[in-house]
Symmetry: D2
Subunit: 372 residues, 4 copies
């Protein structure tokens, strides 16, 4: 018998595991058009100065309406910390924070109360939970990623003290890709609006996004990331390899379709004699590798070289043009397009990628410290 039919009758399933991490754990809550979104970050070390300006900076990089190539929606996204901070420093107790949902134009979304938007989560939520908060996509909205940016910024406050640096940037939009490696990028420079540090290519990317936007369409892209200054020994050898947790964290971001690290998918066509990273001792007596196809991870454990990786994003599913779909009674319907959306998600995804990377790194960092 068809399980799906049963599902709509019997199953009122629910979400589980809105928590990221092992000993540094972020639990996230909130729907796009509910009262608020937010989270609890538990397991954060005590005594860390909480730099609200840095949190705001990261939030601004994610915020809608930041440039002409993002959605014109405006969200203030003011972060309020409710607990875990005393006299400006973390106390070691749970850091709870909320972001109120303001200016929610709920009527904008009334048309999707009964219709399933193509390549959105409307249908799967309705089946899994029996009903859904349809306003703005509810829990499945990418608005939830603001929570991750807050928590990731907190994690970065700790990591910066250990000289661990995390940088992400846009390396491809549609078929336009930078050919430069992360080593040729200058992360100290002011970001451009598409967040690709390759000045020439960034202009082409922006033109492409504008062209796509004007056509009422959307386009995919790639965010690349690099983590520098990691100690040797982070990651667990079998199931919880460093890159496996990193990959899961990236795949958990809305619209992500793929992840690779180091030589990645390019390794497939390589031979071992080229791909192997030869060890040597540098002048400081440190063990290094001549090449870094391993991407800073060997046997699931960091080796002290740079960890670099790519995250593939699909084109945004919300279009300005109308599309055919069905409603929850099974009727064919024509769904109207919607104006306030991102034509390409990657510029705003950059701080989200950094945030998820920071959460993974700090979790492994603390775990490794348990065995010092």
């Amino acid at each position: 018998m068809y399980f799906g039919i049963l599902a709509i009758i019997f199953l009122h399933l629910l979400t589980y595991m809105n928590t990221q991490g092992k000993i540094l754990r972020l639990t996230s809550f909130g729907e796009s058009h509910g009262k608020a979104i937010g989270g609890i970050l538990d397991g954060f070390p005590s005594g860390i100065a909480i730099d609200m300006d840095f949190i705001s900076t990261q939030m601004r990089r994610r915020r809608p309406g930041q440039s002409r190539i993002t959605t014109p929606r405006k969200e203030k996204d003011k972060v309020e910390i409710l607990s875990g901070v005393f006299e400006g420093k973390s106390t070691g107790t749970p850091l709870a924070f909320v972001i109120q949902n303001e200016d929610a134009q709920s009527k904008d979304y009334s048309h999707i109360a009964t219709q399933f938007r193509p390549s959105h989560a409307d249908y799967t939520y309705e089946k899994k939970y029996g009903f859904r908060d349809y306003r703005g996509g509810g829990r499945s909205s990418a608005r939830e990623t603001a929570v991750r940016v807050v928590a990731g910024a907190l994690a970065q406050l700790f990591l910066r003290q250990k000289d661990i640096q995390i940088h992400a940037y846009v390396s491809q939009v549609g078929n336009i890709a930078t050919l430069k490696s992360y080593k040729e990028m200058d992360f100290t420079q002011k970001e451009n609006i598409v967040r690709c540090p390759d000045a020439v290519v960034s202009k082409q990317m922006i033109s492409l996004i504008e062209e796509v936007r004007d056509a009422g369409d959307t386009i995919g892209g790639v965010v690349s990331g690099v983590i520098q200054g990691l100690p040797v020994g982070l990651g667990e050898p079998v199931f919880d390899k460093f890159h496996a947790e990193l990959g899961k964290a990236m795949l958990g971001i809305n619209a992500v379709k793929g992840f690779d690290y180091g030589s990645g998918f390019d390794a497939v066509a390589m031979r071992g004699s080229s791909h192997n990273d030869i060890f040597y001792n540098d002048e400081a007596g440190r063990v290094r590798t001549q090449s870094n196809y391993s991407g800073g991870v060997q046997g699931g454990i960091t080796n002290g070289e740079d960890v670099y990786f790519r995250v593939a994003f699909k084109p945004v599913a919300t279009l300005m043009n109308s599309q055919k779909t069905i409603d929850n009674q099974g009727n064919s319907v024509q769904m109207e397009g919607k104006g306030r959306h991102d034509p390409c998600v990657v510029p705003r995804a950059v701080p989200i990628v950094e945030a998820m990377a920071a959460l993974v790194v700090l979790d492994f960092y603390l775990l490794a410290s348990a065995y010092r």
Copy 2:
């Protein structure tokens, strides 16, 4: 101060999380040349007939020495179940199983007691744990994947009863890729030795592997997988999305460098108007999508369409040719090549990919059942 230097002095770190899964949990143990490898599968439903023949079949597909394009090493890999089965059926209590390590030629590995093999885990283990079982790579050896194949076969015994089918196959070796989609593959046919169901391309792949082997070199490849017959509603929406757990499980396999699902990295260059999967009702009244770029997952939750994905493997790091490296005193050394290795890992990786997929699917299946 450089953390790595400290590490070798102070840090005796350890592995953590040799466990896969949330409520179906596999805990794995064992080193390549210790007494035995094995695992405990906890959370497995009671009353399931334990088909030892099926387990043996999956083990044979992973086994070294199975064909002329794999390592000539011989391992019997006889599985013994110690608990959790009574009168041929699972009792609901933990299923413990062991595979004795026989014919271990420990002297083969004595040369790596002090040397760090390039692109292996020798260096990272030595730094993380202070010392290591160097014989055959110890815990980092791909021999551990035999444990996963046993547990995955057990999971498949349950899933087969629910008509959930999992198939993996080799879709690329080096630069030779099949252009056929999984839908054109006939999984009922006898497998060839490279495990690519595209008859023409499989011959090219075998030739390439033989050529690489004869040159003392190794080469990468891609294993593709498909999961069919899934109910709607598996997966958790935020961090524990269906494809995020699947990706983590794949990235945790030795030598894996990348993962994508559905349209994957190809989505990057697509436009939303092409990429969106349009919903319709089929004759049976079931909600379906016309295309399936979503890869059977929307908002992290299965939608009843096929889940398909790719896993990228690097070229094997062990070479027949000698390589330069350093020893644990920092001296430059020339490391001898080794004859008994796989020139290409993907043919033997196919049952491992299936096993990890089965563990992820059954875990989500049971979790969803908690909320029926």
Copy 3:
């Protein structure tokens, strides 16, 4: 070398695991005099009508200032749910809730900024975290239990639909104990202020508490609980026995010193021939036991009989009289007494015991459902 000395220099440890439960998980946050306290309840089934009146009723039973035998402090304790509810019903996504901290008289607590109150957590927090939010005990304040009452009330909304009833009551204050078993108690009657359903004994308890209060002192007590209507099969056999999780949940409540269930500590002096519960079939064909010394749990798994248990509370550590102690510089100091405290904690602990029991029961209920 003395670890404690090292601790104050090097260790800035932190809290971890502010989460209760396996698949129904409550994560709690907040300090007594911070902005707010609250929590996220994740894994709660969808489609449950959220009865705010029931939540308020439970909160009123916990609230300070409710009677002449509790602290005269006033807290409004208004619960605001931020997410996970749509059109009055749970959506299956995380239920976040906050309780603002109002009327906090921070100056009341300034004297404990540097002093360690006897039998409080001031010293252990200061050592564990390096510094602490001293206002009102910060995170260690029993104010945190309000969070548990909210979450427990939510769990009870589900359990009531399954005819699972949870009742707690005061069975002892100081040396005054009721001799009646839970079976003789009428839980439908209006509670008295000490929450002991034995009318005669309750008056003695109230007198004792008043006498203790007037002497500026405090006194301990016992809360007894009973869970009725449980299905057979909840609980896991080895480490996660039903009563082991229940006991842990009770021991996690502030001021608790002991837990037993069924025959409890009285079993020690009994013989097996008296203690064994003889099985029989009742008229409805159900398997029952003639006695219930097992307390409804056999081998860690519920057997369908009533689960009953006792929770021992110590006398409140905050006194109206002054006490000797030391400050964080090691100086001897005389600490002033404090007027606004509970002379006996058990009347207000009754809804907290019910709440923790409800969280444990629903967690096991959902887990067992995964394997139906």
Copy 4:
């Protein structure tokens, strides 16, 4: 509708969570009369010398047939470590160990294949899992505790290096209790067969057990424990308090009915002015308390004083005399008595209590280390 009836038809539930601990995790397997029992201890630090003699010593203290007041059954209980040890030291990878089941007299148990032994887990297992391995109680047999003793001994190997001492002893059998506190006990002396270090009382206990045994009956008892040398700062403040995890670990031991620590149930009748532990600085400048009613834990966190606790055990359910019960068809039956059982479980429970305490302490120790 009655859930239990449904259960036997539809539910094939299963065990879950045969795992103890957060970052030091013991997963246990095995049935009383299956091939073997054993476990995997994951998260154990590397570089620890594995003293097999110490493990054997602890196993001998738990072993059946050790004295005239225990069951005459003989079990060799030889421990074999399969992984995680290299050149005599732990490698940081999972320590797997097995104990073969020898001399199992399966026919002894054939009579319970269909009958439910009073106050055993036969009925609850049959309902929870649909069927059960009835031989010797299968998974519910106390034989499983041998696994805990092995893991606990491993944990103690680490703790001894940190000068953390764990001692348990019998403090009560039936109505005969020692009046001495743990401070008056000499743990360096050779243990007597009842494991009560009070020489006079131990003789009375032994007489009582012999009398009970000769009457074909059984009797309960109390095991007391003390942990000395703990650093300040172990335990987590809210749900995972030090004593809450300790209590759960004890309540998870077969036949345990209650747990208290410090002043325990005696605290109920005390006043705060007597119960509060007054802080002072000792000559070495360490913060100490004059009394220790807190039992070494304040606010869920260790304060450096001794942690002491009591564990109540019920009388063994297996009797030499025959008893009335029912079979799985609901028929009344007379069950024959069985000769080879323990008349009192507490002498053999002493090393089990020590083992569970050691696992809890090391888990918290490592966790606290993550935040140094």
